[in-house]
């Protein structure tokens, strides 16, 4: 009875996703194997050149740099986010939804605006420098804006709410009697945390880390605004291939690696979640 209706209901959405996501992505996959045309177009001869070029030390270096920045941002965001989620979960139950709501709220304000806020703070004529002066700091402050640190701060700031949300979910589901049982059996609070709470909340950590890493490594807005073009990340490189260098096939090849990294991480994350839940969600 129920067997034909779902298909009918799903058709518009699936058709849309196919036309405007699957097909364009397949197109990118195909583009990566063609040659760049003389005047920026596409020369339809098959080649491995674009893929090989990704491994060129220059571009591989940018990949590594991006991965480093994304990984660092993800790590910091996970530490801060887990601590915040843990603290929220430790508050009285009735206050938790509101605290969580306010933790996530900034996430839904405009990304550019949130990034811009850091320009205002870190600027050479910005608020932090100004405050330091007011507090009597005389010397020259190190440059803060247009540095790697600024990019990491911006990424952590932008994605932290999501990490809090991801970590809170398993923490709030944790049965308090389980931790009490651990204490009852003689474990210290720290041992209880390390051997009971932490393993049970790995899925949230994995989700949070993956999310921040994936969004950071492909990001071009934050490096462009807070990094000020001082260094490139993959996102900026892809951007350049399509909008300035006009080398679409190479841009496509870079995107494929971006997707490959993302899929690899997601697989790891699924694995981590399944392992933590004893494989029951498999």
């Amino acid at each position: 009875m129920r067997d034909r209706r779902p298909l009918f209901l799903m058709t518009p959405a699936l058709a849309w996703l196919t036309a405007f996501m699957v097909v364009p992505c397949l197109l990118i996959l195909a583009l990566a194997f063609f040659r760049r045309g003389l005047y920026g177009g596409i020369d339809y001869t098959l080649t491995w050149e674009n893929i090989a070029l990704v491994f060129d030390p220059l571009y591989a270096g940018i990949f590594l740099k991006s991965a480093w920045i994304a990984g660092l941002s993800a790590l910091i965001a996970v530490i801060l986010g887990y601590a915040a989620a843990y603290a929220i979960a430790a508050m009285p139950r009735r206050h938790q939804p509101l605290l969580l709501f306010f933790a996530v709220l900034p996430f839904w304000s405009n990304y550019l605006v949130r990034t811009y806020a850091w320009i205002v703070l870190l600027n050479r004529e910005g608020l932090i420098v100004h405050l330091a002066r007011l507090l009597g700091f005389e010397g020259e402050l190190p440059r803060m804006l247009y540095t790697e640190t600024a990019v990491v701060i911006g990424l952590v700031y932008n994605y932290l709410p999501f990490v809090i949300l991801a970590c809170y979910a398993p923490l709030s589901r944790l049965n308090p009697e389980v931790t009490e049982a651990s204490r009852d059996l003689g474990a210290s609070p720290w041992t209880t945390f390390r051997r009971v709470v932490l393993p049970m909340t790995v899925p949230g950590i994995a989700t949070g880390f993956t999310f921040v890493f994936v969004l950071s490594i492909g990001n071009f807005v934050t490096p462009a605004l807070l990094g000020g073009g001082q260094f490139q990340m993959i996102g900026n490189l892809v951007y350049a291939q399509f909008l300035t260098a006009n080398d679409w096939p190479f841009g496509a090849a870079l995107s494929i690696f971006l997707i490959a990294i993302m899929m690899g991480l997601l697989t790891l994350q699924t694995f981590a979640s399944e392992k933590a839940s004893g494989g029951r969600n498999a």
Partner: protein, 262 residues
């Protein structure tokens, strides 16, 4: 977790909330600063808001954003809801299907952006607001679908059978039972989609085509940040944040206390 040391927990929360809210609070404060500069408070003023509304470029961009957000939200809500119901009444859970539905939410925006740019260019489609709308529906429908599906997880399907058992044909059941029970989630999903669309920059930037005619608000903000910051941007930022926060608050409200018996 009740035995966690309370002062430490409060200190962590205070620190994280300060980190989250200080930067955006500064923007809001600056938007009312007469001098417009972060270095000195020269008095309360709404003049930057006045300047904002007098700026034809910004107002044009705001109108474009509204057009894109409204149309893409309507389409995404319709498709996303049907998709959610379809997926949930299907008994078999296909991994491929799940991936397809999940993909728009996690695919790096730059990848979808350049994929659509290449796709539209090679097809010879003139890009503009319509192509932004087509693109925004892709991820918006996935988000609507996920919100509605979350509601369907706790949905008692036996009420659908009860409706049939009491003599209702399929369409009547959809109209009188399924949609009313899901409506808080559907509206919450729509508000979420609207917010995402209003804020979306990267994909719009790549699929807008050339010319000012299809500039959206985030594109305008990006341009303003990159090429000459004027204090108007603080006012604009405040308004844009306000709209998003309002939509999210509403969406949360609806999805939580909305229906009895959840």
């Amino acid at each position: 977790m009740r035995n966690a040391p309370l002062p430490l927990m409060l200190a962590i929360l205070a620190g994280v909330f300060a980190f989250l809210y200080l930067p955006i609070s500064v923007l809001v404060a600056l938007s009312f600063n007469d001098g417009g500069l972060p270095t000195a408070w020269t008095g309360f003023s709404t003049k930057w808001y006045g300047a904002l509304f007098a700026n034809a470029d910004i107002m044009g961009a705001a109108l474009n954003t509204l057009i894109v957000a409204v149309i893409s939200t309507i389409l995404a809500t319709l498709f996303g809801t049907l998709l959610a119901v379809g997926v949930e009444i299907r008994r078999r859970k296909g991994r491929f299907l799940e991936t397809l539905i999940f993909a728009p939410m996690i695919i790096p925006d730059i990848v979808l952006a350049i994929a659509l740019l290449s796709f539209f260019s090679l097809l010879g489609v003139t890009m503009g607001l319509h192509t932004i709308i087509l693109a925004h529906v892709v991820f918006n429908l996935a988000f609507v679908c996920s919100v509605v599906r979350a509601r369907l997880k706790t949905f008692d399907w036996s009420i659908v059978e009860a409706s049939t058992d009491l003599g209702a044909p399929t369409f009547t059941t959809l109209r009188r039972v399924i949609i009313p029970v899901l409506s808080p989630a559907i509206i919450a999903g729509a508000l979420l989609a609207f917010t995402l669309s209003v804020d979306e920059f990267v994909i719009a930037f790549f699929t807008a085509g050339a010319g000012r005619a299809s500039t959206t608000l985030p594109m305008q903000i990006y341009a303003m940040i990159r090429f000459g910051v004027t204090p108007e941007i603080n006012a604009l930022a405040t308004i844009v944040m306000g709209i998003s926060v309002l939509a999210l608050t509403l969406s949360q409200r609806l999805n939580r206390g909305g229906l009895p018996g959840q």
